[in-house]
Symmetry: C2
């Protein structure tokens, strides 16, 4: 498969990305590069400080290579066998994922076209991100590019990991990394083979968990059962889910989340994905007893854009296409669109003119 | 009707209450007392400073009497012909309206029972407040009291007035006062007669507007069309309604407020109140073009309890009783209950234990 050590490029060096990069690095089966952006200088000179439940206290860890930007990586002349994306996925934000990774896909493809030694190499794009149908944006991008003499494979990663960047090049990782990874399209044999290879490179026995995902679509819909309902409700109310349930109506069961979960299951079913209804109580009950703020709630509180479109917009558009009624998801989505607009305004990503009461620039 | 000037007691000396009291005072047809609470000392010594679009700049205005508390008014030995309540109406808060006004109703009733000169006097309770079926809480209170030798009448006031207390005994009043006032029960002839008398006392020709409400139930449901939908949405998103609409989905009409308004109309209809559907566009369009934060939005931003139960809880309970489906109102209500719980926690009105993830005290 590889005549030399494969090269992995991690884009998105936050809490998730740095632990992902370190997991590959310490297993020793590949070259690991990272896009460090604002942390570039400190990573180059001092490296990362990592406090990890899986790997202990690490001071001054440096990946094999470090780039200031995706553009810099693209200009390095390197071929990246795995482009691993651990950024947030915000298509309605200033830089959608396809725009972020385009330069390095382009440079990979160009090497394949222009140099015999790279001909027919596989460029694996690994999206370790939330949401459903996030691969479509990449597929659309690829359709605009010259992919002759190369093969591009799309790999889905769903990760459970409580890892946070708490300061410049400073990571705290609290829960054992659990990565489920496989081809977006299970019929894409190349993507399946390169997923298996990735798992081999990623596994650190006794430290992390990584397993092959033979049905990425199912895995993503299943995670959406939580993300489209519980995550979104906590974002709307800016509260952990335990409080949401406890502060809600006393006489009836909390009336939004479970019906919304039923709707997610109905949309998935319309796409041929069967999700066991028992998972509703499973997700509900474990979350109920854990005072924890999910990602979208944290985003709202920090004034950061939410992954709203891939978590809720995409399922709702699928529901509309397949004529599945989703009143609860619809209302939650509409309300969160407003909150997302508020965050955009506060970050200068849109301008609302109070005189005309209209959005004048976005 | 009265052998001497009627005595009005205004409870709730905020922006609305002080202008209401002044309107009665300046018309010169009654005695006006006010419960000034924390402003008591400054009102007693210096009086109110009022900047009013209707009455101009007033420095050091003092009502005829000023009490520190409702209990103090109750102990004054005075009979109050009109108990005018301009507080917020928050039955789920620490002091529901019935609890606030009980002492002064009790002292009125006692005078009627024990003194021949007060026998069969009418104690008018005027609720100038938002919401629907707010009179029921008072009716329930009266059922627990000895009302022999007295007549209690319940009067509904719906007021449009942009008046705010901006500091101690300092009021800014921006839009002409428009008061619609009449008996909660149009068949209660006493309440109708005393409503007419009140209007006569309240009117200041060329300054304010006051009109007799011959169908208070209709007037309240009509105002609810706005309050239960637009007011609540701005509270949920903590944004003016123009922004809510502008930040909402572009491809479809803003998908929450108009369906919610349809639901309000359906509940009203189940109670025999017909509201013209044209009012939906009327309220929607005027609000859309006005960058203005309604009361519940302001409450959330100030961390104050919202009038959630009288604006949304009561209509939803009526809907349940009459088997009217109100999915949109239901979701908005459930979400706002959570926000109300958050405000209660921040004000120490309930205690949430993070260890057990349960509300332990309320």
């Amino acid at each position: 498969m590889f005549d030399k050590l494969p090269h992995c490029l991690v884009i998105g060096a936050g809490g998730v990305g740095v632990i992902t990069a370190y997991s590959l690095f310490i297993a020793g089966k590949c070259i690991v590069s990272i896009i460090a952006r604002s942390d570039y200088d400190i990573v180059k000179t001092k490296g990362y400080n990592i406090n990890s439940c899986d790997y202990g206290n690490l001071e001054g860890w440096k990946p094999h290579h470090c780039y200031k930007s995706v553009e810099a990586a693209a200009m390095s002349g390197e071929f990246f066998d795995y482009i691993i994306v651990t950024t947030k996925n915000i298509p309605d934000g200033p830089t959608p994922v396809s725009r972020i990774i385009e330069p390095v896909i382009e440079s990979n493809l160009k090497l394949c076209r222009t140099s015999a030694s790279y001909r027919n190499k596989v460029c694996n794009i690994v999206l370790i991100q939330n949401g459903i149908y996030i691969e479509n944006e990449i597929i659309e991008l690829l359709e605009t590019m010259n992919t002759s003499s190369a093969k591009v494979s799309l790999i889905s990663g769903v990760q459970l990991i409580a890892s946070t960047k708490v300061g410049s090049a400073n990571i705290i990782h609290k829960n054992t990394d659990h990565l489920t990874l496989g081809a977006f399209d299970p019929n894409d044999k190349t993507a399946v083979a390169y997923s298996k290879k990735f798992i081999e490179m990623y596994k650190n026995e006794g430290k992390n968990y990584v397993e092959l995902d033979t049905d990425a679509k199912y895995t993503r819909w299943k995670k959406l059962l939580y993300n489209a309902t519980i995550n979104t409700t906590t974002a709307l109310t800016s509260l952990d889910f335990s409080r949401c349930v406890q502060f809600g109506p006393e006489t009836t069961e909390f009336g939004i989340v479970k019906p919304a979960m039923q709707e997610v299951i109905a949309i998935a079913k319309s796409e041929g994905v069967i999700i066991d209804e028992k998972l509703i109580d499973f997700f509900y009950d474990i979350t109920l007893n854990l005072v924890y703020k999910p990602s979208m709630c944290v985003d709202v509180q920090k004034g950061q854009l939410m992954e709203l479109e891939v978590i809720l917009g995409n399922p709702i558009r699928v529901a509309a296409k397949n004529e599945v009624k989703v009143p609860h998801l619809n209302i939650i989505y509409n309300l969160l669109l407003i909150i997302q607009g508020k965050i955009k305004e506060s970050r200068g990503l849109l301008v609302f003119d109070e005189k005309t009461a209209r959005v004048v620039k976005k």
